[in-house]
């Protein structure tokens, strides 16, 4: 019979501190990466519009394909170790992680939103055009809000996925939740208990995110429930 010894974790105040700090780092980085990635993603979406220059939309498309077809860990190493060598400038591991997550999320975000945009019936665009709205106004006032509403569930799960990939940033030494778990397990050798605790923490945080997303959904898309 396996001997569960969870008290090996909370016996040491330092372990608990490390784990809580890890939670905070993971939440902070993924939230910041999510928001920045969303902004960059919207830029990528706009760059792919029908009226934007061929070169720009080609670049955006190439970027999205490159990011979506390479492993996150490769992107992370590229940003953390490759870029500093090229630029002769070194920044913190947290900054590297944030940049990698932003770049990664923006590509997925852009792709999902693009699918949402193509789901908008042409009648909407024609109606807006007949009301003398310009292309830009049609995009911002009519197409984008509906597209975001349509793909909101995919976007939230994409964000949850981003949060879970923060586990990988421990590879470059960012003290996130996974890093904290390994720190504790390396010292008390209670790997099973430690990773059970990590599992519970990750699930709890994701549930927290989902509660926020649900509230945000009701606030941002009040028309959804009655369609």
């Amino acid at each position: 019979m396996f001997d569960f010894r969870f008290y090996e974790i909370w016996r040491e105040p330092e372990y608990i501190d490390r784990l809580l700090h890890g939670c905070l780092v993971s939440i902070e980085l993924s939230t910041a990466g999510g928001i920045l990635g969303m902004i960059l993603g919207l830029v990528l979406v706009s760059a792919q519009g029908k009226s934007s220059p061929k070169l720009l939309s080609g670049f955006a498309q190439g970027y999205i394909e490159t990011v979506r077809n390479t492993p996150f860990i490769v992107q992370l190493f590229f940003v953390a170790f490759g870029l500093p060598q090229l630029l002769h400038y070194r920044w913190s591991f947290e900054a590297s992680a944030l940049l990698a997550m932003t770049l990664n999320f923006s590509a997925y975000f852009a792709e999902v939103v693009r699918a949402g945009i193509s789901s908008i019936p042409t009648g909407q665009i024609e109606a807006a055009g007949s009301l003398c709205l310009t292309k830009r106004q049609i995009f911002l006032d009519i197409v984008l809000p509906q597209a975001l509403c349509n793909v909101y569930p995919s976007l939230t799960s994409q964000f949850v996925f981003l949060f879970l990939t923060t586990g990988l940033i421990s590879e470059i030494g960012v003290e996130d939740l996974t890093w904290a778990g390994r720190f504790v397990a390396d010292r008390n050798f209670r790997d099973f208990e430690v990773f059970i605790v990590l599992t519970v923490l990750y699930v709890a945080i994701v549930f927290g995110y989902k509660a926020i997303f649900n509230a945000l959904n009701r606030y941002a898309f009040p028309w959804r429930s009655i369609r």
């Binding site: 019936p121 009648g123 807006a128 007949s130 009301l131 003398c132 709205l133 006032d141 898309f221 028309w223």
Partner: protein, 269 residues
């Protein structure tokens, strides 16, 4: 006469006009189409269309499906691009120049078969948006104008509902109010009652009859022959991309000239 489609308060962007009717008539026809043709790829949907519509005239266009009647009125605000001939609407020729297209769209309202209300905006927001964007009206003025037209179509109490909460007939009336909010000189209707339950057809037709009484220039694709008899000055019959026959409603229905028209009327009457 134009109390129905002109605002009392006008912003600096609109030229104040004394008498719309006389000036617009003097400016020429509302719509003038000369030997216009349109192709979808190799398929010619519109063949050498010639049509002039005067201001204040109410024209009903009918014909079998695929005859090009929707395409024809969609060309008038450049939702479709014609390839040959010219179209002049309200004195402006439709070309690739977006400035001209916008100038035309500002004066031409359109009502669609499938309503095409913006589902993410409330009824009031649907009516306010284009006024704010295209006419740069203040929020207060836009709201006042919107409420006036919502009252006109008899649903002011639904202002804060979303389109998804309304019946088809109500949605189409909001769509009419939304188009009127830009105070167009010409209204285009693309089968406005075809997507409605039979019970709701009349409430929309009544709204359109009311609009006709105000002297609005109307081009209406519809199969509502009762409506055509009641309000139309002229009925146009189209088949296979051509205008086959046009006449005043009385002669059109009682004494059609062409075999194709007779066959069509025999089917639907």
């Amino acid at each position: 006469m134009f109390w129905f489609c002109r605002t009392a308060v006008k912003g600096p962007y609109r030229v104040q006009k004394g008498n719309d009717m006389s000036e617009t008539v003097a400016a020429g026809p509302a719509v003038s189409i000369r030997s216009m043709s349109k192709w979808y790829g190799d398929f010619q949907v519109l063949k050498n269309i010639n049509l002039t519509v005067k201001f204040g005239e109410r024209v009903v266009i009918c014909g079998p499906s695929g005859s090009g009647k929707s395409t024809l009125i969609r060309c008038l605000n450049r939702l479709e691009v014609h390839q040959d001939g010219d179209i002049v609407v309200n004195g402006v020729e439709l070309t690739m120049d977006m400035k001209k297209v916008e100038a035309v769209r500002r004066e031409v309202g359109m009502v669609f078969q499938s309503f095409n209300l913006f589902p993410h905006l409330t009824v009031l927001q649907n009516c306010v948006l284009a006024q704010r964007r295209a006419l740069k009206r203040s929020k207060q003025e836009a709201t006042e104008v919107a409420m006036r037209f919502l009252t006109q179509v008899r649903i002011p109490e639904q202002r804060d509902k979303f389109p998804g909460q309304l019946s088809g007939g109500q949605q189409q009336r909001v769509a009419i109010a939304r188009a009127l909010c830009l105070e167009p000189k010409i209204m285009l209707f693309d089968e406005p009652t075809s997507a409605l339950d039979p019970e709701m057809v009349n409430e929309v037709l009544d709204t359109m009859v009311g609009m006709a009484k105000t002297g609005m220039t109307m081009l209406c694709v519809t199969h509502e022959m009762g409506f055509a008899r009641q309000v139309a000055d002229r009925v146009i019959f189209m088949d296979a991309g051509q205008i086959v026959e046009q006449n005043d409603p009385e002669s059109f229905f009682t004494n059609p000239q062409h075999e194709r028209t007779k066959a069509f009327l025999g089917q639907i009457l």
